[in-house]
Symmetry: C2
Subunit: 401 residues, 2 copies
């Protein structure tokens, strides 16, 4: 039996590959603070569970392939609050944002085609690409300027005749970068001039701090026929286990192509769709406001701890709940392993994600880590201190090695 | 913006494309009996909903990518009852059987590779294939002998150096054919001799009638390292809207490749997995027995009505809940449309699915339809009569045209 090259060449998840070292530390009785994963500890709104529990049909039937009408209507209303005006036909409910991305790529790219993505990027973008023989061409961004976009000419230089789209995550995972209005319009101009699609992964739309102005790609009238918005309830409502995402796009032909795939996979889980509709319709605005304030405090706590260490480079991120920091180490993966294997303070250590796996350009990000500030503030304070102390101890250990 | 050829060349679902004609008939006040879809009317066991309602965590977190331990243990026990002995690592929970098939194909085939499938087959097999640039090579089977397999040499003749697997649906959708032990072992021999994978879609395993002996591909020791079993709770427990399927396979390397994709899509909905675990653990054996008996009666009812019409050719199917019948018409799609647009008896008509879309060989199946016997017996009796009378009236109408 043979295995496909498309999967053989795919790397295992860089977020998960150091998990065995964390498991060993725990087996040894060490408390591990996880800053490596994006699973929030925030409560899921009660209305989700209530909607699920109120389901009272005798048969759990297939839903329609597009999604249930209640959820599509809820999505439509939600986007109205961001001044994005979609009709019901402009939506497809997907199995998390992940399926939305995969199906969108399938509709745009044949094998050998490519899309541009600013790096560092969410590693699974690359995984989805490899699984369908699509290539990712990186637009390199840097810690030094908070991972904002390079000048237009640098981006345009990456476009070739196989380029079909530009994909951005805004606010960014893993960078936490929120693009300025100028950056958003620059990308809009590029996709218009080069006849490309713009795919915007905006699942962290509510996670923007200090009242910073946010421009969604869905607000740019000039590209409304070529813009695809990917969304998800996972982070917004702390409902990662619901697997409810969506595609919003005004290009009927593209939605028709994607619907062929949706009909093939039949439908999305009915109960979870009912729960998601309730999340949009019933969650009080105070919930999102409180969550936003909580994350903003957490960001400050972690960022302040990081800034206490000489040689750490990162701008304060304005969105999402991640920080990518450049560390004064040669190899961040070695450092993360060392923290799990060697470093203990009051019987505890901390786990980060080496950032190299978030880059497509070989060698980049080797001295960087991604941190998710998803712990309660008191825990985060401890985790931040552990990291700061760990970095100092690692420096000493390396100097003495 | 450009669209991919892989999706542009994909046909819309043949099961859904005549839906507008049915909608028009209903708008005209006509009662339409649907024999065209595979949505059972059987009640979902209460234990599914109870398990979902008993979920009591404050945060709906990501599950592990493999699936929740409760469900994996339940699957393991379930297969034991069929004398299939898997370890826990041999399972992956998927988003319906659909995702299981897609990921399996991705792990086996690069663009241009092919798999063999007996035709007529479940149309989405072809859709999944096209979406990842994999080709389907048909092994033609015929209504005249109940869609059983052709001789070994005819199958082997279809294998070329790009062939990676044989996929079978057993019991078959849309044919209802249950392969004999000899057929199962013949396919096992072929995949061993030609170093291919065997992918067995066995979601209708419980739908076998008159106590017919059933051999699962999972029972064939000789191919246990190359056999992949695709399964689903959708039909077994009338839980189509749960979207819970699974892959069972003893080849650790293949499972490792598929797990890369699973990590990319993160996980399957937690609540639905809890419900599915309860289905396996708590549904009384009497439920499946009663469902089996109910479908067997329905099959007889529909089959007997079909046999009253001169020129209809089909063997009595022994499994699943479909019949593919060859009709005395030139074009079954025209007939199905005519039934929806012209034929009324006591204000009612019936909808079937033209079977041509279930074939990969051009021209085959043009005079065939697929019928799903998923209605209550009294409704099915009426639907069967409508179909029989419709066929007679169509013959007269065509003769006079």
């Amino acid at each position: 039996m043979k295995f496909s090259k498309r999967l053989k060449s795919m790397q295992a998840s860089p977020i998960r590959k150091l998990a065995p070292f964390a498991a060993q530390a725990k087996a040894d009785g060490v408390k591990v603070y996880h800053l490596n994963i994006g699973q929030p500890d925030i409560k899921t709104p009660e209305c989700f569970f209530n909607a699920v529990k109120n389901f009272n049909e005798p048969v759990l039937e297939y839903a329609g392939s597009q999604g249930i009408p209640e959820l599509i209507e809820a999505l439509q209303k939600y986007y109205e609050t961001y001044d994005m005006h979609f009709s019901k036909d402009d939506f497809i409910v997907t199995n998390g944002g992940s399926e939305g991305l995969l199906f969108t790529f399938m509709a745009m790219c044949d094998p050998g085609d490519n899309i541009l993505i600013p790096e560092p990027f969410y590693t699974n973008y690359n995984g989805f690409g490899q699984s369908i023989n699509m290539e990712v061409k990186p637009i390199t961004t840097k810690a030094e300027n908070g991972f904002h976009l390079p000048p237009k000419e640098e981006i345009v230089a990456q476009i070739d005749d196989k380029t079909k789209a530009i994909l951005v995550s805004n606010p960014g995972n893993p960078t936490g970068c929120v693009y300025t209005k100028e950056e958003v319009y620059m990308l809009a101009e590029i996709v218009k001039e080069h006849d490309l699609w713009l795919v915007a992964d905006e699942v962290y739309r509510e996670f923007i701090y200090e009242g910073l102005q946010y421009t969604s790609f869905g607000n740019v009238k000039e590209i409304e026929d070529r813009c695809v918005i990917i969304d998800s309830v996972s982070k917004r409502y702390s409902a990662c286990g619901a697997r409810i995402g969506s595609i919003a796009c005004k290009n009927a032909e593209l939605m028709g192509e994607i619907m062929k795939l949706c009909q093939g996979r039949l439908c999305i889980a009915t109960l979870e769709q009912l729960g998601a509709a309730a999340l949009f319709n019933e969650t009080p605005a105070s919930y999102l406001k409180a969550v936003n304030e909580e994350y903003c405090k957490r960001r400050d706590t972690l960022y302040n701890e990081l800034m206490k260490v000489d040689g750490v480079i990162c701008e304060k991120p304005m969105g999402a709940f991640y920080i990518v920091a450049k560390l004064p180490v040669d190899n961040a993966e070695d450092f993360v392993k060392w923290m799990l294997q060697e470093f203990r303070m009051d019987g505890a250590t901390v786990m980060a994600t080496p950032a190299e796996g978030f880059y497509a350009t070989p060698g980049l990000g080797r001295d960087e880590i991604r941190l998710a500030y998803i712990l309660k503030e008191e825990d985060l304070k401890v985790a931040g201190k552990l990291l700061a102390e760990g970095l100092k101890a690692y420096k000493t250990a390396m100097a003495n090695a």
